[in-house]
């Protein structure tokens, strides 16, 4: 992996998550009506972390679910490697809830489009709000995040990678050259 620069380091990562947790609670006036849904794979771990932070602040259990959007993708046929289904795991009723949809990087907006369709097939939430760790621009669809960890203007031949303790052994966000190693 050819790292050009570190956008967020370990400490910044924790601070960003804490700020996002507070922002979500502020806008929703507490955690009573909300539930978190992370988009697999990294959104899943971000959702778990955010849930921990929110529970620390509010001292109440929070519902957390995970969404696999593979079946809703618009590029399934063009892909060389067939993605493995990881399964959707949302054990609660999303109807009437304020759903905080969580992903690591917001880029073209196509993943979020697929996630919105997938969520609405599960029920009718009161609202869906989008929280992302990094917004790197270059949208191809009219989609915008409600909670953003960091805005990072990038060029299309760069790639933003979110590293997480659970998968990569460290918490960080890095910018790498495309054509990855």
């Amino acid at each position: 992996m050819n790292i050009k620069s570190r956008l967020i380091d370990h400490q910044g990562f924790q601070r960003t998550l804490t700020r996002l947790a507070h922002e979500i609670l502020e806008l929703n006036k507490g955690s009573e009506t909300i539930a978190l849904v992370g988009i697999r794979t990294r959104g899943e771990f971000l959702a778990r972390r955010l849930a921990e932070k929110i529970q620390e602040i509010e001292h109440r259990e929070l519902q957390v679910g995970f969404l696999d959007i593979t079946l809703y993708r618009d590029d399934l046929r063009g892909k060389l490697n067939q993605p493995i289904l990881k399964g959707t795991d949302i054990m609660f009723d999303i109807a009437g809830k304020n759903i905080i949809l969580i992903d690591d990087v917001l880029y073209t907006g196509r993943t979020v489009r697929a996630a919105l369709d997938a969520l609405i097939d599960l029920g009718r939430p009161a609202t869906i709000q989008l929280a992302v760790l990094v917004d790197r621009g270059h949208r191809e669809l009219p989609i915008k995040a409600d909670f953003i960890g960091k805005n990072c203007p990038t060029s299309p031949n760069e790639e933003v990678r979110v590293l997480m303790q659970e998968i990569d052994g460290e918490d960080a966000v890095v910018l790498v050259e495309k054509g990855r190693a």
Partner: protein
Amino acid sequence: MALASRHLLGLEGMSKQDIQLILDTATSFREILDRPIKKVPTLQGKTIVNLFFESSTRTRTSFELAERRLSADVVNFSAEASSVRKGESLKDTVRNLEMMKIDMVVIRHAAAGAAHFLSRVIDANIINAGDGSHEHPTQALLDMYTLREKLGAIEGHHVCIVGDISHSRVALSNIYGLQTMGARVSVCGPKTLIPRCIDQLGVQVYYNIDDAIRDADVLNVLRIQNERHGGTLFPTTREYRRYFGVTRERLEASKKKILIMHPGPINRDVELSADVADGEQSVILQQVLNGVAIRMSILYLLGTHT
């Protein structure tokens, strides 16, 4: 990850890895079947023809539901109501259908090898839904899925297939699949219904049902197919039931609780007594439910195969 072939013709020669992928992927689809909206847009724009030259309710309905739940466009074709009755050959029928821009064909045919033949003459993905007495791969896959769901693993378990082995495509596909996955497979039935040389497949033969019940973890009970052999291979159905019928008394005589499967349709009180079919050891209705998930998994893996 993708399957090695763009068709599903049979389980003979299919790798352990591919079977595993189909079963694992089916778990995701099984969850979709419990949702309020049981539909995903994955195969939008794909056209699938269900080409059934033999009657079927379960398999055809199961395939059609799986196709619709993946948002594919579905065309049903049954031989009775088609030009096949006017003498059109299989090759001409499918070539004509192919010109109408179809993407996948699910075929059931009385001739062994019909699906293999189609895969050579047209470009669409072919799924074998039963070819003569040869193979019925989706049935064996859903049997294995159900077995894995109930017993936790396939490997190391002993499955005995009971009944009309000679005329059964379900038996052959199960033998291939289960052996690849590391299970022990045996068959049980009267000598007239057991193919000669079946031991060459590495399958143990029981001629006594009580011995089979004593040794096996799972009984996969097959239907007595009177329409295929005209009832000449054993004296009466009553005698068959007496010697090979799976009954509550026989199951209770064995200490352990074995699993009872049946691919349907059941001849109640012939190969399987009614109280066993409806009893707590029976997973027959779960097999039907899992069948839709397995077929969605296969359609997804083949339909998005590049």
